[in-house]
């Protein structure tokens, strides 16, 4: 990457991701003030193609697709951030504890983590969501529950390398408690990794929640939800492709934004 593209320690990738996220978040927050059609207002103009009045056309109930795409940002970001928060709240303490305690405790926790990592997360999420009901908070909880192990595993790995440093040993020699050492000396060193993994978790939270709603387990209608919109639009793919392709592209771009923000440069 050329040097001028590096802005205060961010790589080109991360900046690109950040720009995408900021653009989407702004659109989502400002949605009511943009002079859009009401996303849930049906009209007689059904299944229209793109035009000056409806940029992305209208769906089978005559609702404006652009407006539904933009309002869909809200649900997606809420679920994605929720997944990130839940996965972090469960994963980070477990990873810290496993890495710091080592020995048998570590082995047992690692076994559990490996077991979870290998499981078909989407299948589990489908089963649990189907049973407890697909509200925004439930979807975020379920996906957070299937995604914490990756966070825990990464944190554990980093903690193991940090806990061998001289300053941690010095702190231990001075008689600091384990909790103090973890908070004061280990956590700050793991923070960068946690933030990056948080972004990745949000990306896959959005990815998986869109897959869930595509399979029919989305936030209940009429709330605009990208996965559900694609699901409903597929049957009109031949003559009204914008109806399923624009929300699909929105999912892809948002996931891409968070993924780029959290991934490291090649």
């Amino acid at each position: 990457m050329p040097r001028w593209l590096k802005l205060r320690g961010y790589s080109f990738r991360q900046l690109l991701g950040l720009i995408i996220i900021i653009a989407f978040a702004t659109l989502g927050i400002l949605a009511p003030y943009l002079g859009l059609y009401d996303p849930n207002q049906s009209s007689m103009d059904i299944l229209q193609g793109a035009s000056a009045t409806h940029w992305f056309g209208t769906d089978e109930l005559g609702r404006d697709i652009l407006s539904r795409d933009i309002y869909g940002i809200r649900v997606s970001l809420a679920v994605g951030l929720g997944v990130g928060v839940f996965a972090t709240v469960i994963g980070v303490p477990i990873g810290l504890f496993a890495g710091y305690s080592r020995g048998r405790t570590d082995l047992v926790i690692l076994q559990i983590i490996d077991l979870f990592v290998a499981l078909p997360a989407l299948i589990l999420a489908l089963l649990i969501t189907a049973i407890i009901g697909s509200t925004t908070i439930n979807i975020a909880l379920v996906l957070g529950f299937v995604m914490w192990p990756q966070m825990a595993r990464l944190v554990r790995g980093q903690v193991i390398s940090v806990r061998e440093t001289v300053y941690v040993e010095a702190a231990r020699a001075l008689g600091s408690s384990a909790v103090w050492i973890m908070r004061r000396h280990i956590l700050p060193n793991v923070m960068r990794l946690i933030i990056a993994q948080f972004a990745i978790t949000v990306a896959f939270g959005i990815f998986s929640s869109a897959s869930l709603s595509f399979l029919g387990l989305g936030v209940p209608p009429p709330t605009p939800d990208w996965g559900t919109m694609v699901r409903e639009g597929v049957q009109f793919l031949t003559f009204c492709p914008l109806m399923s392709i624009t929300p699909g592209a929105a999912v892809t771009l948002t996931v891409l934004g968070f993924y780029l923000l959290g991934s490291k440069d090649d």
Binding site: Q111, L115, V117, A118, L119, P120, A121, L122, I123, L124, L126, L127, I128, A130, I131, I132, A203, F207, S208, A210, S211, F214, L215, G216, L217, G227, V230, R231, V234, L237, T238, P241, S244, I245, G248, A249, V251, T252, V255, L256, Y259, L260, S263, D266
Partner: protein
Amino acid sequence: MLSHITRRILLMIPNVLAMTFLLFATVSSFLGSPAAAMLGQEASLQDIQALDKQYGFDKPIIVQYFDWIGHALRGDLGRSYTSQQSVAEALLPTIPLTIELSLWAIVLAVVMTVLLNSLPFARRLIQPVTTVLAVIGITIPNFMLGICLIYIFSVQLRWLPTTGWVPWSAGAGSHLLHIILPAVTLSANYFGSFTLVYREEYKAAYRQLFIKVARAKGLSELRVSLVHALPNAILPVITYIGLSLGPLVGGAVVTEIVFSMPGVGRLFVGAISAHDFPVMLAVGILVIFGVMVANLISDIVYTSINRQVALG
């Protein structure tokens, strides 16, 4: 070697039991009495209790669980609530399709990864393109890629059939034509992640002494990369295949729905929307079991190849 395999197998048994029990307990406790669900809202309490007794829903969860396992081991997975078909009857015909689709996707992803990231001219010329493709492959949801491919290749160009599936018996050509788009759709994610893993390993292999020796001997770049670097870089990808089988099943479910293919995924999603408890449970547990076994196999393959590398 043998002791390693036995240890892994022994370790897997409690894992499988714990995992499937958790699933069984969650599903049963949240669903409430399946008898009530079967009889509908007007059923009297006596009727529900009678049916509970008949099916054994009144016993403690752990007893029900071992009953279920016992029956499952004898090939009896229960009966679907909606179709009154036995679960095994509904499930068995769907399995080959899902396995075939997954295999095609994995093979396609590995071949593309190796081709685009190890041939010398490809590495030099299209490296940035491969990176972009890999990142998009990782972040694009299966349903989005699926409908884009359908729109381009079936609706606009009319080269390939839109959806559906044709069995081998109806002609290999037609069968393969129907499976191209689903296989590409499912492989995109794996192409992306395999590329990241493979590149890292490839670079690491390239820094090693034997590569320098091979090049100093005057071997061509092509030979160095295919004969010397590739075998070393492919090993971690094999482990990674094992680890990515879980997500692969999830992707297969979505892909089967997009292309309306009668596989395990469609059966599962259909059962979920119909609240068909026995089918949901049986498919969920079997998929988890299958993923664990496949993981074990990939681990064994990896260890044995690794030994050979170490010895040779």
